[in-house]
């Protein structure tokens, strides 16, 4: 069904009153409003609605950013995070201890991780924190991770 001129213009009114229309469309709409009382009324109403929209409370962005920091929200790095967690879990399962002396950092702990969050991240010292995730990994991937662990134990990190 072919749209009337008014229907086409009314679709554009929200973008017109908020200044999102391209110059040419804006000009076409403006010309139409001069000739069409109904559309002009709708334009004025949309303008009233838009001009009274709520504004966010002062400092909301800072509050949210502070909450993100306090809750240690870090974006999950899907494959990398999964690999790190899986390696850590396998290490625990196999009671593998890594000689990290060459890396100049603390040896990896051999007891269970305390699961405090569903998220994963690397701490500054390189230790893995968060909930290890093995669920969902294929046998092939698990096998690959196991090989990686054995290589590390045998020859260290190249």
């Amino acid at each position: 069904m072919k749209r009337t001129r008014c229907e086409s213009i009314q679709e554009l009114i929200p973008d017109y009153v908020t200044g999102r229309l391209a110059t040419k469309e804006q000009e076409l709409a403006r010309e139409h409003f001069k000739q069409c009382y109904e559309c002009e009324q709708d334009r004025d109403l949309a303008h009233l609605v838009f001009s009274s929209r709520a504004v966010e409370p002062e400092g909301l962005a800072s509050k949210i950013n502070a909450a993100l920091t306090n809750q240690r929200v870090v974006v999950r790095r899907q494959w990398w995070g999964l690999t790190a967690a899986a390696v850590a879990s396998l290490a625990i399962a196999l009671n593998v201890s890594l000689d990290r002396s060459e890396l100049g950092s603390v040896p990896l702990v051999e007891y269970e991780f305390e699961i405090q969050s569903e998220n994963l991240w690397l701490t500054d010292d390189g230790l893995i924190a968060g909930a290890p995730m093995l669920e969902g990994l294929s046998d092939e991937v698990l096998g690959w991770l196991l090989e990686e662990l054995i290589e590390i134990e045998d020859g260290g990190v190249s």
Partner: protein, 185 residues
């Protein structure tokens, strides 16, 4: 790239999401600054309570960023985070009961300086009344108007937000506008 180099031009949301996924917390902060107002308004439209909307805005970003790895870019980041906000707000209503119908303090409208003070005051008063009357519309009509006008969403996006098809979102919007005009007149 250093922050200094990066700040030379505004980054798109997609670029910021990619940087956030690479561990750049600065990018997260920019996304918050860019979208917190819209997230707050969406929550407020659904909840009708400023304090609850503020809490939902905060929870939205925490949950959204934790799930950013699942963001596939099929919709824009803005639509994605606003959808989370709408779901969070609806979840809160399910948990605590029905929508708060108390009056909301909306900001005084700002008009161009070429308006005379009396005229500006009159328009401000009409705008506040229009917003007040908007709260009386059925939810889907009210949200369709708020999301289309306040946030500039397409009807397809409005449909996603209110759980309707694109055409149903369009119908809700235009019925809402007709009804709002009747209430005002």
């Amino acid at each position: 790239m250093s922050d200094h180099e990066w700040s030379k031009k505004p980054s798109s949301d997609e670029e910021l999401v990619a940087r956030a996924r690479a561990g750049d917390n600065f990018a997260l902060g920019i996304l918050v600054n860019r979208h917190n107002a819209a997230v707050y308004r969406v929550a407020l439209s659904i909840l009708g309570d400023e304090s609850a909307a503020e809490d939902v805005a905060q929870d939205t970003f925490i949950k959204g960023f934790r799930a950013l790895g699942q963001f596939r870019g099929e919709a824009s980041f803005r639509t994605w985070i606003l959808t989370i906000a709408a779901n969070e707000a609806r979840g809160l209503i399910r948990r605590i009961g029905r929508r708060n119908e108390t009056a909301i303090d909306f900001a005084a409208p700002v008009y161009s300086k070429d308006k005379a003070p009396d005229e500006a005051a009159l328009i401000a008063s009409e705008a506040a009344r229009a917003r007040d009357l908007l709260q009386r519309l059925p939810e889907k009509q009210r949200l369709a108007i708020a999301f289309r006008i306040d946030e500039g969403m397409s009807f397809k996006e409005v449909g996603q937000m209110i759980g309707s098809s694109e055409s149903a979102a369009r119908v809700n919007y235009f019925h809402g506008i007709r009804r709002l005009r009747e209430l005002i007149e």
